[in-house]
C-alpha cells in the first residue's frame, strides 16, 4: 500500500549531492542584509532540503550525549548489524523479526518532510522509508489494539549518555493507532538514498512529521501494540512541558519558550526566523485525527 501520500516537495527539491559544497560556500559568504531580506518571503524560501551534512551533524540523540554535535561524534560505535525488532502485544504474529524480514516486500519511498524540533529549530529532510501502516499490516494488528509503543536500543558500552544517565533509558515513545496508521507516518531507513546515519537513528527510526521531533523515536528495537496509552520518555521526564500528543502547534507555547516561530538549520548567522505552521504544515492531512479534541489540553 505504498504511495498513498504524494510529496508536495518533489525530488527536484532535494539538493543534488554535487551542490552540497556549493551551497555551503554560498551560505557562508551570504551577507547578513541579503539573508534578512529573504526573511519576509516566508516558508517558500525556507523549504530547501537541508544537506546530508547538516542533517547528520546537528542532532538530539541523548544516548550519545546532550550536545547537538555529540551524536555525530559518539555514534560511530553503535552496533546496527545484526538488527532485530521485537514485535509483541496485541498482534497476530508476534516475534523477534530480523530487520530485513520485517521490511521484505515493502516499498521504500522517498518522503521529503519538514522536521520541527520542540526546541524551535527545523530542517527539511528527504527520508527513505516504508509506511508504518504496512509494517503493522504485516504483523497483524488485533482488534483490541489502540496504541503503538516503541523502544530505542540501549548499548551502554557505546552510549556515553546512557552511562551518565542524562535521562532514563531506554527511550520510549508511543502513538495512537490511527496516528500510527496514517500514511504520513514513516519507518525511515535512510536519508538522501543512503543508509540512515547512526546519529540519525540507524538502522530504522520513526518519522511523524506533524509532531515535534522527539516523537520520532530512533534506532527502534521494539514495537508493542497495546490497549492503553503507552509511556513516552519526555512525557515521563516532564509531563507539564511535553504531552503525549506533542503535535506541532504554534498557538500552544512550550512553558519555557514560544512555539510560534522557528529557525531552519543551515541559514548561517543571519538565518531568518520563520512562522511555524499548524501541524508543521500537514494540517490538511492530519487535522481530522484530532477533530473535536482540545489541543491546548492535549498538547
Amino acid at each position: 500500500m505504498a504511495h498513498r501520500w504524494t510529496n508536495t516537495l518533489t525530488r527536484a527539491d532535494a539538493t543534488p549531492k554535487a551542490a552540497w559544497l556549493n551551497r555551503r560556500q554560498i551560505m557562508a559568504g551570504m551577507g547578513g542584509a541579503a539573508a534578512l531580506l529573504a526573511a519576509g518571503q516566508g516558508r517558500a524560501q525556507a523549504l530547501v532540503p537541508n544537506t546530508l551534512e547538516q542533517i547528520s551533524s546537528y542532532n538530539n540523540y541523548y544516548e550519545f550525549g546532550v550536545g547537538k554535535d555529540d551524536p555525530a561524534r559518539n555514534a560511530g560505535g553503535l552496533v546496527t548489524q545484526p538488527w532485530s525488532i521485537r514485535v509483541d502485544g496485541l498482534v497476530d504474529r508476534p516475534g523477534d523479526y530480523a530487520l530485513a524480514d520485517l521490511l521484505e516486500g515493502l516499498t521504500v519511498e522517498e518522503r521529503i518532510y519538514r522536521f520541527r524540533c520542540v526546541e524551535a529549530w527545523s530542517m527539511v529532510v528527504p527520508w527513505n522509508g516504508v509506511e508504518l501502516a504496512d509494517v503493522l499490516a504485516k504483523v497483524g494488528v488485533q482488534s483490541g489494539a489502540r496504541y503503538v509503543a516503541f523502544e530505542t536500543v540501549v548499548q551502554p558500552e557505546v552510549m556515553p549518555g546512557v552511562r551518565q544517565r542524562v535521562i532514563p533509558f531506554p527511550y520510549v515513545e508511543g502513538l495512537r493507532l490511527d496516528e500510527a496508521m496514517h500514511p504520513l507516518t514513516l519507518l525511515a531507513t535512510g536519508i538522501y538514498g543512503q543508509p540512515m546515519p547512526n546519529q540519525n537513528g540507524a538502522p530504522i527510526r520513526l518519522v511523524v512529521p506533524w509532531k515535534y521531533g522527539f516523537k520520532s523515536i530512533k534506532s527502534i528495537v521494539r514495537i508493542t501494540l497495546t490497549d492503553s496509552q503507552p509511556p513516552a520518555s519526555w512525557n515521563i521526564i516532564n509531563g507539564r512541558e511535553y504531552g503525549f500528543y506533542s503535535n506541532v502547534n504554534p498557538e500552544v507555547s512550550h512553558p519555557r519558550w514560544s512555539q510560534a516561530s522557528e529557525r531552519q538549520i543551515g541559514g548561517g548567522l543571519f538565518s531568518p526566523r520563520i512562522d511555524t505552521p499548524m501541524f508543521n504544515g500537514y494540517e490538511a492531512e492530519v487535522a481530522g485525527l484530532y477533530a473535536g479534541m482540545d489541543l491546548r489540553a492535549n498538547y
Binding site: R24, M27, A28, L36, A39, N50, E53, Q54, S57, Y58, Y62, V66, K68, D69, E119, W121, Q164, R165, V166, I167, I237, S253, R256, W257, S258, S261, R263, I265, G266, G268, L269, F270, S271, P272, R273
Partner: protein, 209 residues
C-alpha cells in the same frame, strides 16, 4: 608560597585581560560566521557567549575566597574580569535579540512571559550599574564603603545568571548544574567567618587599577 606568588603577580598587568576577552569574543563571532560553530551558529554563539560570561563572573567571585583562604591575591585582575564578563553578557544579549529573535515584539514578549529569560534579563540589569561604576573615579565618588555595598549586587547577578542557565536546559546536562554549584559554594564561603592570617587586611579592600 602565597607571598612569593603575590610578589610575582605584581609584575603582571591586568589590561591584557581586556584584549584577550575582546579577541575571544570576536573569534567566536568569526567562527559562527564561517560555519565552525556548526550548522546552527546563532544558538551556538548565544550559548558560548553566555557560558564565557558565566565563567568570568565565577572567576571574579572566586577572587575574594581565594585570598581569604590561601592568601593569594588576584584582586588587581578582578575589575578586568568583571568588565570582560559584562562584555560577554552584552554580546550574549545582542545575539539573542538581534540574530535569534529578530523582532522587538518577540523580545518584549519573551522577557515578560519566559521566567528564565526574565531572570537572565534581570541579571543583566543588575550588572549595568556595576559595569558603569567599575572605575577609580566612581570608587572615589561613592566612597569605598558605598562602592562595596553597591557591588554586592554581583552576588545576586551571578546567582540569577546560573539559575537562568539551569532553567533553560532540557533534561539533566552536567555543566549548568556544575556552574550553579560553584556559584553557591563561592557565595557560601563568604558566610563562613574568615580565618585570616595575622596582619593581613580584611577581604573588603578595594582594587587599585
Amino acid at each position: 608560597m602565597a607571598p612569593a606568588i603575590n610578589r610575582a603577580l605584581r609584575h603582571v598587568p591586568a589590561w591584557p585581560i581586556y584584549g584577550l576577552g575582546a579577541a575571544w569574543l570576536a573569534w567566536l563571532f568569526w567562527q559562527g560566521l564561517t560555519g565552525a560553530l556548526g550548522p546552527e551558529p546563532i544558538n551556538a554563539l548565544e550559548r558560548r557567549y553566555g557560558e564565557v560570561a558565566l565563567w568570568l563572573l565565577i572567576a571574579g567571585l572566586a577572587v575574594t575566597p581565594l585570598r581569604v583562604w590561601s592568601g593569594v591575591s588576584l584582586l588587581k585582575f578582578r575589575r578586568a574580569l568583571g568588565l570582560t564578563a559584562f562584555g560577554f553578557v552584552v554580546a550574549h544579549l545582542l545575539v539573542w535579540a538581534v540574530l535569534d529573535l529578530q523582532s522587538l515584539s518577540r523580545i518584549g514578549g519573551e522577557i515578560v512571559k519566559r521566567p528564565y529569560i526574565t531572570l537572565g534579563f534581570a541579571a543583566f540589569l543588575l550588572l549595568v550599574p556595576l559595569a558603569v561604576t567599575s572605575n577609580n573615579a566612581s570608587i572615589r565618588r561613592l566612597g569605598a564603603l558605598g562602592w562595596r555595598k553597591l557591588h554586592r549586587l554581583t552576588y545576586a547577578a551571578v546567582l540569577l545568571g546560573a539559575v537562568h542557565y539551569v532553567w533553560l536546559v532540557k533534561g539533566w546536562p552536567v555543566e549548568p548544574f556544575v556552574y550553579l554549584a560553584l556559584v553557591l559554594a563561592l557565595l557560601a564561603l563568604r558566610l563562613i567567618p574568615a580565618r585570616r592570617p595575622q596582619g593581613r587586611p580584611g577581604p573588603g579592600i578595594v582594587a587599585k587599577g
